[in-house]
Symmetry: C2
Subunit: 338 residues, 2 copies
């Protein structure tokens, strides 16, 4: 299913994450080493489970945000590498717990840890990584950074519970959905970006700019992820089109299609999502309705809206290659739908 | 099954937790209020799940340890209430995750949260409480206390994974078992007791004394818990005799009986624990073997050993009602087997 992304004027090529990757490469090498060493334990199962997920080829966008946002404010110390690693561990712990909660079989095209080592190991290794994340934060010694990241940890869990309590409820509004993705995804992006200026002793304006950038980038990122589930290619995604549909997840493409539909179409959605009638035939029908109501394009439209807010959040900062790289990540996050 | 606890000379009555309860009552009232307020959330399911466990009548021994150990060193501030609440939240989060990992139906005589709200809510509300625990610690602002408690969080999870990897393995040694209970139980007792002197700015000797007291009290406490599972009354425990047996948990009464048994008896244990043949008839047989080899008395003997170490850890501290109350808790923890 095609989605038309309006490219900004004067831009002829697709945006890329490469400039950010290149600018953070030296520090990311250290983050990657620290990830391996802090996922280590004498208890053999811990590095096995942790490395399964860690080596599965995620983009590691979140730790790059921390490194870049510290560098953007001229940070010269060593703490950014530990905080970036903490951020990635918080994310990894969330994924381990999410797979248990969602009863997922596949992530990024590979069996989930819970399918190999069981739910038990996934819960506990997630707990271990969260503990290690906090230890590294404590090591850095910034109470302000600890405050931001520990608040994010609570908010993420709160968002996951909220998602659970709206699950399979077709009356979920776009606002409910936004509350969920703000908490479960955007809060960590925001914290990842905000701790950079914090340890660089930037002023309030700088902190606020990066926090807002991260929050809105995170919203755009999750909106596009949710669109991809109904329009992407399984190979690119490491998941199958329709996974969210089969799990009865309420995402914006579904919310828009439901609210814009006829009474008969709404009855179909309730059967499919609330009663779990998620056959391939019903998925085809759902994709047809999503197309009929332009729900993917409009989901991407919302992502573009938050992308614009993220862009404006950084506007007061002086031009630099790092700033340009962070701005390009906004476009990249949205354009990956193509 | 009777167990003989040798009472110390000159002691004619059973030890009680009451002196500690009385001495910490004013602060515990504030802890209990803070527990309710920090388990609150706009996401309705969070306080529901949290309060189910919170209201189930645990002794709250761990937060009392934090309050008492701060008071023992003359602490005058406000941080001890938040740290004590953090400690209880860490414990509650562990219980929520444990019940999922152990697939338990009952805790303290009531249905576990996972039986009412599902595994998903138990995992996520546990994560939320852990996040809230860290926020409160950050609020107190002591990096040393944060260091001790975040290290404990990692170690606890590590201990749980270790327990998982020795599960149903009858070749588990007493040392393996000690590693598990040291990490999953004693580490939090130790941290709970150590953060008191830390925020009271006590010297290294004071910190070391309370840490050692907590660690060894925790070991004694868990040893007795594991003995109770084969010798206690279900009503007192809120669990049934033989729960550990039915779950195939390797605890010291089983380890001792196995290692002291004949070849035929060892074959029985392997069938029962490794193959899960945990019928009532087999439980009866197991209880008979535990009795035959004095495994409960010797488990309590080990608890007395650690209790003595805990007692000696506090020996250098001046006499006071608080110190006496902490010492009495050692005896109480062991004598509750009767």
């Amino acid at each position: 299913m095609g989605v038309v992304i309006p490219l900004e004027e004067g831009k002829n090529k697709l945006a890329s994450v490469k400039p950010l990757v290149d600018l953070t490469k030296a520090d990311m090498d250290r983050v990657n080493q620290l990830i391996l060493s802090k996922a280590g334990s004498d208890v053999q199962m811990i590095p096995e489970v942790a490395n399964h997920l860690i080596s599965s080829g995620g983009k590691r966008l979140r730790p790059m945000l921390t490194l870049a946002s510290a560098a953007l404010f001229g940070y010269q110390g060593e703490g950014h590498v530990k905080l970036a690693t903490s951020v990635e561990f918080m994310h990894t712990a969330t994924l381990l717990h999410d797979d248990v909660v969602d009863e997922s079989d596949l992530r990024r095209g590979r069996s989930t840890a819970r399918m190999i080592w069981g739910n038990q190991a996934s819960v506990l290794v997630g707990d271990f990584l969260l503990g290690q994340a906090f230890r590294m934060m404590v090591d850095v010694g910034s109470l302000e950074a600890l405050d931001v990241l520990s608040a994010a940890a609570s908010v993420i869990a709160e968002g996951e519970v909220l998602q659970l309590s709206v699950a399979k409820n077709m009356e979920t509004t776009e606002d409910d959905y936004l509350s969920v993705i703000r908490a479960k995804t955007a809060a960590l992006f925001a914290a990842a970006a905000e701790v950079g200026p914090i340890i660089a002793n930037a002023d309030k304006a700088g902190r606020g700019a990066l926090k807002s950038y991260g929050m809105n980038l995170g919203l755009a990122f999750q909106l596009v992820d949710d669109a991809l589930d109904y329009g992407g290619k399984a190979a690119d995604l490491g998941k199958n089109v329709g996974d969210d549909f089969r799990e009865g997840k309420i995402t914006l493409p579904v919310i828009l299609s439901y609210r814009r539909g006829t009474e008969a179409e709404r009855a179909f959605w309730r059967q499919a999502i609330e009663k779990g009638e998620s056959s391939d035939e019903n998925l085809e029908k759902a994709l047809g309705l999503i197309n009929k109501y332009g729900a993917l394009n409009d989901t991407i439209g919302r992502a573009l809206h938050y992308g614009t807010i993220a862009r404006d959040a950084l506007a007061p900062l002086p031009a630099s290659p790092l700033k340009a790289a962070l701005l390009e990540v906004i476009d990249f996050s949205i354009q990956r739908v193509n």
